[in-house]
Amino acid sequence: MIVSMTLELKDIPGQLVLALAPISELHGNIMSVVHQHEEKTPRGTIPVQIRFEIDQGVLDELIKRLENSGVGVARVGEERLRSSVSVILIGHIIHSDIGDTIDKIDSTGFAEVVDLSLSMPAIERTSSAYLVINAVGERELKKSLEILREVAAKKELLMIEPIRLNSEVV
């Protein structure tokens, strides 16, 4: 999972290393560090924003280690959904229960439909929908596409997926 954290460091030398070391120790992968030395908090501490990828199971341990070493953890935010895919559905989208179609993805817990545009030209004509699905990772994204494929087949919807841009990894 990707985590973004705001830490508060004391204004004395050596604090940044103290904050970053536990992340490496727990095999986290640091993606960015923003150190705002001139913007002190009212408490006189220095805020640092860090973004890193880490196994969900060690997050609590990380926070404990940071606090034990005197680093304040002001905010922890998880960037859950970081893989994204667009698909188009064509067919009787409303009558085959679009709510249920979306729910099949949302109920997985690892993927969500985050955008939906619908076009219904006339009652007797088929409608078209553009969907964006976000998921926690590439594997989960593939799984959610498989689920959508099954739902589309059952509801006789034509599903148009993107080309395999990453066929480098086929």
Binding site: G91, S117, P121, S128, A129, L158, I160, I163, S167
Partner: protein
Amino acid sequence: MKTIRLSIIGFGAVGQGVARTILSKKEILHKQGIDLRVIGISDSKGSEINVDGIDLKSALARKKQKGTIAKGNEGALDIIRDVEHEIVVEATPTNIKDGEPGLSNMLGAFDSGKHVITSNKGPLALYFSQLKESAEDNGVIFRYEATVGGAVPIFNLIHESLAGNRVMGIEGILNGTTNYILTRMAEERLTYELALKEAQELGIAETDPTYDVEGIDSACKLVILANSVFGQAATYRDVEVTGITKITPEALELASKNNYVVKLICEAGNGTLTVAPRLVPKKHPLAVGGTLNVASILTDLAGRITISGKGAGSIETASSILSDILYIVRNS
């Protein structure tokens, strides 16, 4: 001067294109020391044979005037088996039910020790490995550049220019008719039915468009590519195929708003063969419009190589056939 004798079996758009191209390139080829002599031409009604070389100009004129080349009753196999020559250009129409008459023509040519060049997809989509084996057993060359991508030299690129590379995957648009329909639907917000009608009026789509719009033609080409490149023994029945008939102008509009176009894409790789409409980012090299064909080949050394060009047309297809003829002239 090296004289190469050849027969043209099937004298429709492709066969006539070959005749025209041989005529127009005669002098240039002579300068290179090559004399191409057509000793037999056949169509569905009969044939013309002349061991000294057929006058192609008058043959083309007669075909135009009478609708047939026929001067005598000898059939295709009579020419292939009984008239001495080196190369059979098999240009009969594609039949994906049993591959005939192309299949018998090709096997007959191999058995009588003749090289075969073809534009006919049917026999290759059904019996690729048998044909390849028969050519090898008889010690002759089998070339089929014109079967996939029209003028686009896909097989030459992969087998000659990219020799030594491992091909990991191929993606492409291998059917100009569906590409034209989808392009027009997106540009003019036409319904599928209207865009198809327009394509039929322009002669881009057949009266019965099933082969093209249901993705069968694309599937046949994909199978030939996969068999030739990956050494598979697939037939077109192994391809998962979805056509374009259900696509709506609204879907194309939604795609366009989000910077995509929809194309009928052929995919080979990872052991699977798929033909389906796909979202292609507008700036991606596969996003070519009109009747163009395109193939993107992913290799281990060269990375991704993409080529695009005209996928159909009499002279365009003849370009691929002439290139195959010259390959044989130089390598036999």
